[in-house]
C-alpha cells in the first residue's frame, strides 16, 4: 500500500492534468463573468423592467375629499365609494352569468346581451355608481373580463335645500359651485403613491420604500342648521308657488353671533343629479341685488333720531301723503296728514321717511349706509357675492337724497340687509354674518346708541303686533316680533316697472332677539305683491320653528294671538 507523506499528496495530479483543469475552470469562469457582465450592464434596463413588471407594482393611495358638516355635525356633503361596472369583450360571453349580472343590476337582460353582441371587441360600461355591496356580489360571480372601477362619488343628503351653500362637484370630483368650489383645494387634499413588491398570487409582500403618503382633505364645519335650512326652503317654495313669483331667498341669522343658521333660495337644484340649470344654481341671497324699499326706513329714521334731527314725540306733517321733490312726487299708499314717528314706520309712510331722512345731510345718510356695509361685500366666504350699489353722496341729486331714506336709489343683497338689521337686535352694534364655525369672539361696531336702537325696535314691533301694522302676518303665538315689510318696484330696462320685490325682515323675540330673518320674493304675480302678505308668512313659518327648536322662552302670552288669527280675513293686503 502506497504511503503518503503529506495530506496534499492525496490530491497530487500530473502537470498536464492540472493545467487542463485550471484552463477549463478559467474558461468556465470567464464565460460566467462575461454573461454576468452582459446581463448586468448591457441588458440591465430591459431585464429590470421585465422583472419589475412581474413583481413590482405602483399603487395609488387615495386621498379622501373632506366632508362638509352643519352646526350639529350632520353631513351636508360626503364622498362615498361607488363602482362603475364594465366588461371587456374578447371571446364568446358567458350568457348565464351575463343574465345574472343584469338581474343584480336591475337592467334589462336582453338589452344587455344585445349591447354586448353588438360590440365584437373592446370595452363597454354596463352601469355606473353601484354600491359596494352589489360590487362584491358581482365579483363573486368571477366572470372573465368583468371590470369594477372604484370611484368616490359626492353625496348631498340635503338635496335642494342647501344646494346653494354647499354647491356641487363635477364628474371628475372638482368643486364647481358653492363651498365645494371655494374650498376645492382644501377639501381635495393630495393623492399619494407607493411602490410595492408582489408575489405570484399578486399579494403585496414588501414595501420598496418609494412612497408618498396621501394628504386627506380637511373637513368644513358650517353654522347652518340643516333642519331649519329645510324648513326655510319648504316655506319659501310654498309661498313663491302660491304667489307665482319668479324667485326668492331667505336668510336666518343668529342675532348675537352673526352665525347664519339658514340661507336658502328658490328655485334650486339637486346637487346629486347631473342635470344643471344655471339660473337655478345662483345663490340669490348673495348674488342678486335689489332696491330694498321700505325695509330701509327704520335705518334712516333711527339715524335721524341718533343725530337728534327728529324728536321721538314729534308730529310729522305728511301733507296728505304727497310730497313734491323737484319735478317728481313721493306718495303714500295710506295718505295721512299727520303721523308720529312710530306711525311712519308702522304704516310705512314714504313721505314721512323722506321728510325725516332728508334732515340728515347726504354725507350723514351715506355715512350710515356705508357703515352698515351697503355697496361693499360682506365677505362671508361664499362665491359670487356682490357689492350692491351705493353711489357716493357727492353724486346725489335732490331726488336721490329724498328717495334714499325709503330705500330707493340704493341696491343691496339680502345678506347685506340682514347684517344691517343686526343693529336693532344688539343695541346699536353691527354684527357681521359668518358661515363657518369658529371660536373667534364677536366684535360689533357701534352705529346707534342703545336707546335709539331699542326705540326703533318698539316701532318695528308695532308693525307686526299692533292693529294697522303692515306686518301682522308675521305674528307668532307666544313671541313678540319686530319687523318691517318692504314692497319695492323693480327697475326693468332702466325704468321702474309694474314688477315688485316683496320683502320682510324682522327679529324675535323682540325683547331679546335670538334670530334675525330676512325674506325677499322677486316678482310675485298672483293675488298680491306686498311684502307683508307674500314674504311675512315665510318669516312666520321659519321663525316659529327656529324659536321652538332652540327652546327660546316665550315673551308674551300665548292666547292673545288667537284673536289676531281670526281677524286675518278682515284685513286687506298689508301694504308696503
Amino acid at each position: 500500500m502506497k504511503q503518503f507523506s503529506h495530506q496534499s499528496d492525496i490530491f497530487e495530479l500530473s502537470k498536464i492534468r492540472r493545467r487542463t483543469v485550471l484552463a477549463v475552470v478559467l474558461i468556465l469562469f470567464s464565460m460566467l463573468f462575461s454573461r454576468a457582465l452582459y446581463l448586468q450592464q448591457i441588458q440591465k434596463e430591459f431585464l429590470q423592467s421585465k422583472g419589475d413588471g412581474f413583481s413590482v407594482r405602483k399603487e395609488v393611495l387615495h386621498s379622501y375629499r373632506g366632508k362638509i358638516y352643519d352646526r350639529n355635525n350632520k353631513l351636508l356633503a360626503v364622498s362615498s365609494p361607488t363602482y362603475d361596472v364594465g366588461i371587456s369583450i374578447k371571446d364568446n360571453p358567458d350568457l348565464p352569468k351575463i343574465k345574472e349580472i343584469a338581474k343584480l343590476l336591475d337592467i334589462n337582460e336582453q338589452e344587455l346581451i344585445n349591447k354586448i353582441k353588438k360590440k365584437d371587441k373592446g370595452f363597454i360600461y354596463i352601469k355606473r355608481s353601484i354600491s359596494p355591496e352589489k360590487a362584491k356580489k358581482l365579483t363573486d360571480l368571477k366572470l372573465t373580463g368583468l371590470n369594477l372601477e372604484k370611484k368616490y362619488r359626492r353625496f348631498y343628503p340635503n338635496r335642494e335645500s342647501a344646494a346653494h351653500i354647499v354647491g356641487k362637484t363635477n364628474i371628475d370630483g372638482v368643486g364647481n359651485e358653492g363651498l365645494e368650489k371655494l374650498w376645492d383645494k382644501t377639501l381635495t387634499g393630495e393623492i399619494g403613491h407607493k411602490k410595492v413588491l408582489v408575489d405570484g398570487g399578486k399579494r403585496i409582500i414588501d414595501d420598496l420604500q418609494d412612497f408618498k403618503l396621501p394628504i386627506n382633505g380637511s373637513d368644513i364645519h358650517t353654522t347652518i342648521d340643516s333642519r331649519l335650512q329645510h324648513t326655510a326652503f319648504e316655506a319659501l317654495k310654498k309661498y313663491i308657488e302660491r304667489y307665482e313669483a319668479l324667485a326668492g331667498s331667505a336668510i336666518l341669522m343668529d342675532a348675537k353671533t352673526g352665525e347664519i343658521i339658514a340661507m336658502t333660495n328658490y328655485p334650486s337644484y339637486n346637487p346629486n343629479s347631473s342635470i344643471t340649470n344655471l339660473d337655478a344654481m345662483r345663490n340669490r341671497a348673495v348674488t342678486d341685488t335689489f332696491e330694498p324699499g321700505s325695509t330701509l326706513k327704520p335705518i334712516s329714521v333711527a339715524y335721524a333720531m341718533e343725530r337728534k334731527k327728529v324728536k321721538t314725540n314729534e308730529i310729522i306733517h305728511t301733507n296728505n301723503g304727497l310730497l313734491k321733490v323737484g319735478r317728481t312726487f313721493i306718495r303714500d299708499d295710506h295718505p295721512e296728514d299727520e303721523l308720529t314717528i312710530k306711525d311712519v314706520i308702522k304704516t310705512s309712510s314714504n313721505v314721512g321717511a323722506s321728510i325725516i331722512g332728508t334732515r340728515l345731510e347726504p354725507k350723514e345718510l351715506w355715512g350710515v349706509y356705508d357703515k352698515l356695509g351697503f355697496g361693499k361685500k360682506v365677505n362671508i366666504g361664499l362665491p359670487g357675492e356682490t357689492n350692491g350699489r351705493l353711489s357716493n353722496f357727492s353724486l346725489w341729486r335732490e331726488t336721490d337724497h329724498s328717495r334714499m331714506p325709503y330705500g330707493y336709489g340704493v341696491s343691496v343683497n339680502l345678506l347685506q340687509l340682514t347684517q344691517a338689521y343686526s343693529i336693532f337686535a344688539n343695541e346699536g352694534l353691527i354684527v357681521h354674518p359668518r358661515i363657518y364655525m369658529t371660536q373667534d369672539s364677536v366684535f360689533g361696531e357701534k352705529v346707534l346708541s342703545p336707546n335709539v336702537s331699542n326705540e326703533m325696535k318698539t316701532y318695528m314691533r308695532a308693525v307686526v303686533e299692533e292693529d294697522g301694522g303692515t306686518g301682522f302676518r308675521a305674528r307668532i303665538p307666544g313671541y313678540s316680533v319686530a319687523g318691517k315689510t318692504g314692497t319695492a318696484r323693480k327697475v326693468v330696462n332702466g325704468e321702474y316697472s309694474r314688477e315688485y320685490v316683496a320683502s320682510f325682515i324682522g327679529m324675535a323675540p323682540s325683547t331679546n332677539p335670538k334670530f334675525i330673518m330676512a325674506v325677499m320674493i322677486d316678482n310675485p304675480k298672483k293675488d298680491s305683491y306686498y311684502g307683508g302678505t307674500v314674504a311675512g308668512p315665510v318669516f312666520k313659518e321659519v321663525m316659529k320653528e327656529a324659536l321652538k327648536l332652540y327652546d327660546v322662552p316665550y315673551d308674551k302670552q300665548l292666547n292673545e294671538n288667537l284673536l289676531d288669527i281670526k281677524m286675518d280675513a278682515a284685513y286687506e293686503d298689508s301694504r308696503l
Binding site: 366632508k67 350632520k74 353631513l75 360626503v78 364622498s79 362615498s80 365609494p81 359596494p132 353625496f155 343628503p157 340635503n158 338635496r159 335645500s161 410595492v196 408575489d199 399579494r203 403585496i204 409582500i205 414588501d206 414595501d207 340643516s226 333642519r227 329645510h230 324648513t231 319648504e234 303665538p477 307666544g478 302670552q557 300665548l558 292666547n559 294671538n561 288667537l562 288669527i565 281670526k566 286675518d568
Partner: protein
C-alpha cells in the same frame, strides 16, 4: 482546522436558512398588514356610508314624506289650533 471549517459551514447553512425563514415570515406578515390596512380603509368607508345613510334616513325630506304619505298627516287648519298656557 477541518472540523472548524465544517462547523462554520454548518453555522452558515443554519443562518442562511434562518434568513430565508425570516424573510418569508416578514413577507407573510407584510401581506397580512397590507390586507388589514385595506380592511381599515374599507371599514372607514363603511362608516362614512352608514353616516350618510343615517343622515339621509333621519333627514327632513324623508320624515316629511313618511308623515304625509304613510301616516297621512296634514297641517292643521289655523282656526283649529288652540295654544295652551303652561301651568
Amino acid at each position: 482546522m477541518m472540523k472548524l471549517n465544517i462547523l462554520l459551514f454548518i453555522v452558515l447553512i443554519v443562518f442562511c436558512l434562518l434568513k430565508v425563514n425570516t424573510e418569508h415570515l416578514y413577507r407573510k406578515n407584510f401581506s397580512i398588514l397590507d390586507s388589514e390596512q385595506k380592511r381599515e380603509i374599507e371599514l372607514k368607508e363603511e362608516k362614512t356610508k352608514l353616516e350618510l345613510e343615517n343622515t339621509d334616513q333621519s333627514g327632513n325630506n324623508r320624515i316629511e314624506e313618511f308623515a304625509k304619505k304613510k301616516l297621512e298627516m296634514v297641517e292643521p287648519n289655523q282656526n283649529n289650533i288652540i295654544q295652551l298656557e303652561g301651568q
